[in-house]
Amino acid sequence: MAKEFAVRPVIFPSSTGNPNVPQHSRHPGAASAPPFQPPRPTAPGPANPSIPFMSFDVGAASASSSFSAPVFASVSTGGGGHFSVPGSFEDEPPLLEELGINTRQIWRKTLSILNPFRVKPDLHEDADLSGPFLFLMAFGLFQLLAGKFHFGIILGWVTVAALFLYVVFNMLAGRNGNLDLYRCLSLVGYCMLPMVILSAASLFVPHGGVLIFSMAAVFVLWSTRVCTGLLVELASGGDEHRGLIAYACCLVYLLFSLLIIF
């Protein structure tokens, strides 16, 4: 595979001091620590017609960086601040904000789930999946500590449960049912918090005793109450079917409590 490349090989400025050799590096790693500086003091002119993009002069080191700024920005993020290039790195929003993960909101939503007697539906108006993701990872982690590797099962069962609740709620609500799947998944995930607490507590409780069963009953009722309250408040059409929806939620959380107890 001896192929002739149109690009000339890199010749670095060593003691030879050859001013007319074009120098460029396509590889960002080749010019790592110091900023890239082509050593040609003179304007290139028509000397190298095969490399048309080498038309910048050495004096403006920042100008050279404008060519390779995207490359450098991705490689040396620490050095990104040194390049005052308009519109690239400094203007980017922080990572979490860009991903849409609002940690303050997640924390507030989590705190609101902790009180089973008063639901705050306005916090859950905008659905997000990052809080549920955290809860499910924590759930899987506590199950792992108990010796059960259930990550995939939790994921699958949460999906099926959310689908089930979505279908049942919309069918019961009829024409004015406007629950969408994303919000349903978000609510089911957030109301998993009591289950996560149960799985943490079950690590310290003897297996198969009366205590774990009664704790599970309490936590399932807690989850059900919060989930039903949020579902009925946030999506229209569920008010006259509160008991029916509560039973469906109860089934979902009983399913997860089975994973924890046994």
Binding site: M171, G174, L181, A248
Partner: protein, 281 residues
């Protein structure tokens, strides 16, 4: 995944088309505006695709009101009719299913003329109308109770749960086949499929009750299971008799063949219940 369901021009004859779409009162099957997703799957063959996937595909993208406005195939009949329930209906219907001998009233469904056609009243107004909420919830309860039983035996695993789920679905399917075969052999085969699915699904209420009793005291199983099978048999006989009467041609009523088939259906509940109730990991 987007299914535009506008099958107004698919021709299905029979009275049961009209009876299967009793939502004329509620109006969701009247389709004045075109489906915004177009007729992407117009004429797709099976009603299952339209009904089943249409339910998920359309609702996934937005509110279910669009789903309500679309004309899901008349053969599959509007699923929303079966979910028009309220808590009082659920309570009374469960009482009827579990203790059919105590049901004082009649067993026929109330019909009402809607727009010139005869259609059945929705479950809120009629205790004898089938619904799909109870079968779904009873099936879920059955799965959970089976999970508890397996767990108390010490052999719980999520795979065992999936196994039970598949078994329950298979049992439901067999029951639907039984009812459908019965209807077919008696000549009238046009009852809506969802009606039969609903009637078969009621079996899970009795099953769940038996499983719950077995969790409390293991010997209650031997008394309760035959009793529940009997109750389900009686319930099915009374319901299917009315279904036959609306279907059959008049000269075939009260034939002995019909009675023997109904008896066979009632007796077939026993092995089915015992098979579904046998929870082994």
């Amino acid at each position: 995944m987007i299914l535009g369901c506008n099958f107004g021009s698919v021709a299905h004859t029979d009275m049961y088309n009209n009876l299967g779409n009793p939502a004329g009162v509620q109006g969701p099957n009247v389709n004045p505006q075109p489906n915004p997703f177009g007729n992407a799957f117009y004429g797709a063959g099976s009603g299952l695709i339209r009904g089943g996937l249409g339910a998920y595909g359309e609702k996934f993208l937005g509110s279910s009101s669009e789903f309500m406005q679309s004309n899901i195939s008349r053969y599959f009949s509007n699923p929303q009719y079966y979910f028009q329930v309220n808590e009082q209906y659920v309570r009374n219907k469960v009482k009827v299913i579990l203790f059919p001998l105590l049901h004082r009233g009649h067993w026929t469904r109330i019909t009402e003329p809607v727009g010139g056609r005869l259609s059945y009243k929705p479950p809120i107004y009629d205790i004898n109308a089938p619904d799909l909420y109870i079968p779904f919830m009873a099936f879920g309860t059955y799965i959970i109770l089976a999970g508890f039983t397996i767990g108390l035996m010490g052999k719980f695993s999520p795979e065992a749960m999936s196994m039970q789920f598949t078994r329950g679905l298979a049992g439901w399917f067999i029951e639907v086949l039984l009812l459908k075969g019965l209807l077919y052999s008696l000549g009238g085969g046009e009852a809506p499929l969802l009606d039969l699915v609903a009637y078969s699904g009621y079996a899970f209420t009795g099953l769940s009750l038996t499983l719950l009793a077995r969790l409390c005291w293991s010997y209650s199983y031997y008394a309760l299971m035959p009793w529940m099978s009997l109750c389900m048999g009686i319930f099915l006989v009374k319901t299917m008799k009315r279904v036959f009467f609306t279907e059959m041609r008049s000269y075939e009523k009260h034939s002995s063949r019909q009675h023997y088939l109904l008896l066979f259906m009632a007796i077939a509940q026993f092995p089915l219940f015992f098979w579904l109730g046998k929870i082994s990991a």
